[in-house]
Symmetry: C2
Subunit: 443 residues, 2 copies
């Protein structure tokens, strides 16, 4: 059905930014006006697209006259009500979002970095102006996790969120697991398949997942924490060998983002984590996202879907545009009090007090008594050992031998202290690995 | 926090029916007023509970004076805005719902049988009266599938829904699989564990799943079909032996509810179905529900959670009460046009034309040439065979021997014709099994 063939009320909308997601949103609005009309009871009429460089070659075929490099075409048109702001990074994204809000637009965004960095300021400003910011697309792409936590599970106190929020890292880890690739070859493979950007640093070092976790922690727990204060470890230190050892112990390794109530404080971190084979989060393969939410009434609800990509992300953006056009976003935004002082702040658990089992792997020169020395250090720090893998050196006495030790519960502080002491031992090489093991009893 | 300690706007609400779900809803409203207040921006004030027998012993501790057997206490109080109607069955549930709507109440319900049976009439009446019916709890309990399909995925044309919607059946099948129980012992076990009612007929014969599928098909496809017109097969004919054979071929058996676009017609059915081991739907165990939805923009999104039980269902009911109190339900209800003539009707696929691979199992007296005869009948009906399991009789020549044949794609008509012809053969005993095999290429 044509965009303009419907004899019903129109809400004029606009898009800023015509990259991957923007072109997907334009396609849904232009090609599928009938469906947005059916769900919104009105046509979402794409009135204007603003980009930085109008001469750049684009995938989307836009009708003539729709595209411009002048933001004033949107801010100066009072008939445009809803704007999808789809440019990444912090600036000019932030300035543009403020200009849109100040000119009376309700904004929809997929920019998690912007929200994680400047959420409080942007949300306060939107509230002051009586405007809204919808951000379903900023976390977990096509999985509607923001609406599910903020609205569908609103009768619950959420007690735990465990999530795979970075599809690039998950693809790399599952290719290392399935195809026996090294980390470097996993990264190269992800780039080749289009699952990693040219510079995938923010994906593999955990930054992207941590920014998304910060948004979910605000939403579910009212946590007032800046993403950079959340402890994070990337997947760069995980070797193919570690994946193999974990598997032999019955585990998979996934980059998990965790927010869970621990007594009355919120435990938050992002790190490669061992998950028992067969547990749903451990079985997530390829460039997917998954979120396991526990609410005190509903129990555990598990979501799995595409966390990125043009059309999954556009699906989330257009759903937000529909919600905003019909007025649902206004009701939700007003009540949720996101990043607001109205919400009782939750205490954040001191990261050094977070307790977990650990999978540790050391590279040692095979000398008599090394296992006893290392086990002794763990013991002195009050950490008990549950299993050990040590093989004979393959070639000569000089070869490095991996030593894998799985521990029972230990605080992060005790684990760090043990690591420091162990790495001081002469025959232990740099590059030891300490990974958390997910407590499956509470799954 | 106490129900009445909040210095904020109140929305008075009521509950009709104080069974399992009703008492869970009362508990959330009375004990957790702070959280509903936080999400609704107002207190949901439980003003009245109406039951048939006020003397019946109940789990929930209700404040004195709150409970009555007089519906007029609700219908006659104009300050009560939202009513959770939580009695099962068709009557008096339908009459009560109409009286609530006519007295100006917005209604929240968990009664899928009522909606599947009288949805069009009830929704038309609600629309005429300017009222709303919210029904998240009627399908898949704690999984917010109604909001996800109706709202979160509204930028998509849904192309496929494959779901496990009956937790009782799923528990029985997975216990037959894991503990080697017979169907009868699986039912007894489910009753003992509280996962099946005293009379679980509507669960094991597929009625419950079919009623839920009818609601989802209305929601996702605008399908105008009465639940009783949807072909359904229960799990009663599945033996422990069938589960074992399926497993040896690499499959699990689950009671699947399917609604999927097949060319331009909607294929609908509920039946025990073979699913490849490792596919998410095949790995759902115990009394859980799961829904796999494919949207043309978002791709596949998979949901897993508790499909029944007091608090998971209460979680869905209270979320609907919050949505109704803040006004979101009104916006959604108006736009969704459920069971409405405004929606373009979708063509329903003639069930006999639905195509699938089949898993067939016959009990035969071991006679020479039986495999050839049966294979010949399949061949004459244009059905190719992909695999066969036939073992030697265990004891004597008179023992019945199971013969398992897996076919390539066949229409339901050709499969039925083959079955009729095969069952006419002298040495084939009654009780043959024909189960669909899920096409994993489109998962």
């Amino acid at each position: 059905m044509e965009n303009n063939s419907l004899d019903m009320e129109r809400t004029k909308v606009a898009i800023v930014g015509m990259g991957t997601v923007g072109s997907g949103v334009a396609r849904l609005l232009l090609d599928h006006g009938d469906r947005t009309a059916r769900h919104a009871g009105r046509t979402l009429w794409l009135e204007q697209v603003v980009v930085r460089d109008i001469h750049k070659k684009r995938d989307a075929d836009l009708p003539t006259g729709l595209i411009s490099d002048d933001l004033e075409k949107i801010t100066g048109d009072p008939e445009i009500k809803v704007v999808a702001q789809l440019i990444g990074g912090l600036e000019p994204a932030k300035t543009i979002m403020l200009r849109l809000l100040e000119s009376g637009k309700d904004v929809v965004t997929a920019n998690k970095a912007l929200l994680a960095e400047h959420g409080p300021e942007l949300f306060d400003r939107a509230r002051d102006l009586g405007r809204t910011i919808a951000f379903e697309a900023s976390v977990a792409g096509g999985i509607p996790i923001v609406a599910n936590i903020g609205q569908c599970l609103s009768a619950n106190q959420v007690t735990s969120i465990r999530a795979i929020l970075n599809g690039t890292s998950n693809y790399i880890l599952s290719q290392m697991e399935a195809a026996g690739l090294s980390f470097e070859n996993g990264v190269a493979d992800a780039k080749e398949k289009g699952f990693a950007e040219a510079d995938p640093r923010m994906d593999v070092d955990g930054t992207d997942a941590t920014q998304k976790l910060a948004i979910l922690a605000h939403l579910a727990f009212g946590a007032r924490i800046h993403w950079s204060e959340i402890p994070r470890t990337g997947i760069e230190g995980v070797s193919q060998q570690d994946i193999h050892f974990a598997e032999s112990l019955g585990y998979r390794i996934r980059l998990l983002a965790i927010a869970q109530m621990n007594q009355s404080a919120l435990e938050l971190h992002v790190s490669p984590t061992l998950i028992r084979i067969g547990q749903p989060l451990g079985e997530v393969r390829g460039p997917y996202n998954a979120v396991s939410v526990v609410g005190d009434a509903v129990g555990r609800v598990f979501f799995h879907g595409q966390g990125a990509g043009r059309m999954p992300t556009a699906s989330a953006v257009v759903a937000d545009m529909i919600d905003t056009a019909v007025g649902r976003t206004q009701l939700t935004f007003r009540n949720l009090e996101l990043w607001s002082d109205q919400q009782a702040p939750v205490a954040i658990l001191d990261p050094s007090m977070a307790s977990s089992r650990y999978f540790t792997r050391f590279m040692i020169q095979d000398q008599p008594g090394m296992l006893a020395k290392i086990a002794g250090i763990f013991g002195n720090n009050g950490i008990s050992i549950s299993s050990v893998i040590q093989h004979e050196p393959q070639m000569s006495k000089d070869d490095l031998v991996p030593l894998v030790i799985m521990t029972y519960n230990a605080t992060a502080a005790a684990a760090r202290q043990s690591l420091q002491e162990i790495e001081k031992l002469d025959s232990v090489q740099p590059g030891s690995l300490f990974l958390r093991v997910l407590d499956t009893s509470s799954l």
